[in-house]
């Protein structure tokens, strides 16, 4: 349907879905650097089920999400007592460990990657996945759990003092975000037809953090916008060949230096401010 642009469109959709997953986890202040590992695990799980056990596609994706949720819940439980910065680093360590272990298990192909996966993913699957993920994130945003997780993000002690169970909030948000990532990983596995341990590493995870920060960490649309722009941009810059990555690094650095709140900030200004309640409140207060 899209001809040569098909893979770009699908990758953009998948990246948006993964970034939404990171956004949900980040809502409770747990910025996860294990995203790629979780997605990879979801991919492995689903691929094993479809290739070795002949499961149909949709249940396999759901299992990918379940695997992601379990791993996410585990990581959240382990890092419960950890502070802000150390938390992020521990998730990084987890991600890398999972990557190394995946590298060495021969049942899933080890360093030679897991191949022979049936090609089930197409444009519509990914679109539906993104829509479901966005819907989940949107409902989560406005729910009591969403407010509770924002409270935990802003001030753990104060949140606990108002009776919020920090354990519950953290574990559930991490699991939810990780489930989305797992499902996205499953989708990706059935598009790329291969799951390789290299994709589980920390630099891939960092990519999604960058998407999130670039677009705006506090707003759902920011996550989606960031993922879309930063996936499409390197492709559009293809004409600059080898200096493409240098330009990419430059863009990242400049954005962080000059607009650290991302493209869509917490108090929406500009275009996005016209259409949201938060923006309207901000403008009223400014008068």
């Amino acid at each position: 349907m899209f001809g040569q642009w098909e893979s770009l469109v699908i990758f953009t959709l998948l990246n948006v879905m993964l970034t939404v997953g990171v956004y949900v986890t980040a809502m409770s202040g747990q910025l996860s650097l294990a995203t790629a590992a979780i997605a990879g695990l979801g991919g492995y799980a689903a691929a094993i089920l479809t290739r070795n056990f002949g499961w149909p596609f949709v249940p396999a994706i759901l299992m990918g999400a379940v695997v992601g949720a379990f791993v996410g819940a585990f990581i959240a439980a382990v890092t419960l007592r950890m502070r802000d910065f150390i938390l992020k680093l521990t998730t990084l360590a987890f991600g890398e460990m999972i990557a190394v272990v995946a590298f060495n298990i021969d049942y899933i192909g080890g360093a030679n990657s897991f191949t022979g996966i049936p090609a089930y993913t197409g444009f519509w699957n990914c679109l539906i996945g993104v829509l479901i993920a966005t819907y989940l994130a949107w409902r989560f945003d406005g729910s009591r759990l969403g407010f509770a997780s924002r409270a935990v993000r802003d001030d753990v002690v104060a949140a606990a003092a108002t009776g919020i169970s920090v354990l519950q909030v953290r574990v559930v948000t991490f699991a939810l975000g990780a489930a989305i990532c797992g499902a996205a990983g499953a989708l990706q596995a059935h598009y790329m037809l291969i799951v390789s341990p290299q994709e589980l590493g920390f630099f891939v995870s960092l990519n999604f953090i960058i998407f999130l920060l670039f677009g705006g960490m506090h707003v759902l649309w920011g996550a989606m916008l960031g993922a879309t722009v930063l996936t499409i941009l390197p492709e559009l810059m293809r004409f600059t060949t080898e200096y493409r990555h240098v330009l990419f690094g430059l863009i990242i650095t400049v954005v962080v230096l000059f607009r650290p709140q991302g493209l869509i900030p917490r108090i929406p200004t500009g275009v996005s401010g016209r259409f949201s309640r938060a923006g309207k409140t901000a403008r009223q207060q400014a008068q």
Binding site: L31, V78, R81, M82, R83, F85, I86, K88, L89, T90, A93, F94, E96, M97, V100, V101, F103, N104, F202, F203, L206, I209, I210, L213, E242, Y243, R244, H245, V246, F248, G249, L250, I251, I252, T253, V254, V256, L257, P260
Partner: protein, 289 residues
């Protein structure tokens, strides 16, 4: 027994290469409280600076080392001015991402300008192994060890005994109070970052000589290991970082020798998680609350 001794020695050498990068990392981490992800890439720039000097200018070890220290230090200086200073005081994650961006630029810039493949490092020091009876060692390995020890000595001396060093420690503990006492925080940060970069440059030459080649993307592997070392050790004592790096190297070498090399990288991460679970501020604690 021979295997044990040899692996012990190998471990010490590998550990000293980790230490040599980790010390520069630690200096910046302690003083500025930020992770400078561009540090391993500054290391890489130093390596290429030395390589170009060795190829086109002179083969004298000290000249090459000076060239790489200068090139790395220059990049570090620019980095501090352009990126680290404006972001000071903001969330550490921002600095992490910004320096990562700079790192990507450096890696790919060097890869585009010179080569994205491995480039042979001119053998300024011969790599013939020397037999010491039970173990064998080569000159570059000894150089590595000496360089890391000297770096440690320089940093310790600087931090303990010079006025700027004491000012650095004050800034590490409480930048606002230090400023109130008349310390020029910007200048102190600048010196710290430049010093760390220059040390990284020297280290780069010795590592390049050890492995005989240089690669634009070498920063990744070393960066992560050095990073883990400072996390495990905590940012209170530089010597702690050195110790942890050596221990990590030895542990890796022993496990590679006795068990298998496949899980070698996982060990570092496992150790990190275990230590952070028990002592979230690192083994030797940290300055901050």
């Amino acid at each position: 027994m021979n295997l044990f001794l040899q692996q012990l020695l190998n471990g010490v050498i590998i550990g000293s290469t980790y230490a040599v990068i980790a010390i520069g990392f630690a200096l910046v981490f302690t003083v500025l409280r930020v992770i400078n992800f561009a540090h391993p890439d500054i290391f890489m720039v130093g390596m290429f600076g030395g390589l170009l000097c060795a190829k086109y200018v002179s083969s004298n070890f000290f000249v090459v080392a000076a060239a790489s220290a200068l090139s790395a230090g220059l990049v570090g200086l620019i980095l501090e001015r352009a990126v680290l200073r404006p972001l000071r005081g903001r969330d550490a994650l921002m600095t992490l991402i910004a320096t990562l961006g700079v790192g990507i630029m450096l890696e790919n810039g060097v890869a585009a300008l010179i080569s994205s493949d491995v480039v042979a490092f001119p053998p300024v020091i011969s790599r013939q192994p020397i037999d010491l009876g039970a173990v064998s060692v080569s000159k570059p390995q000894i150089v590595n060890l000496i360089v890391s020890l000297i770096s440690l000595a320089i940093v310790s001396y600087y931090v303990r005994l010079t006025p700027y060093g004491r000012a650095t420690r004050a800034v590490a503990e409480r930048p606002d109070v230090a400023a109130a006492f008349g310390v020029n925080v910007s200048r102190v940060s600048q010196v710290a970052v430049t010093l760390a970069s220059m040390l990284a440059g020297c280290a780069a030459v010795s590592v390049g000589l050890l492995y005989g080649n240089a690669w634009a993307f070498i920063g990744l592997a070393y960066g992560i290991k050095g990073f883990i070392c400072i996390l495990i050790a905590g940012n209170r004592y530089f010597e702690g970082v050195m110790l942890v790096a050596l221990a990590l190297g030895i542990l890796e070498a022993l496990i590679t020798g006795y068990l298998s090399s496949t899980y070698r990288d996982a060990i570092a991460f496992l150790l990190l998680i275990a230590v952070l679970y028990v002592r979230p501020n690192g083994l030797f604690g940290s300055y901050s609350t």
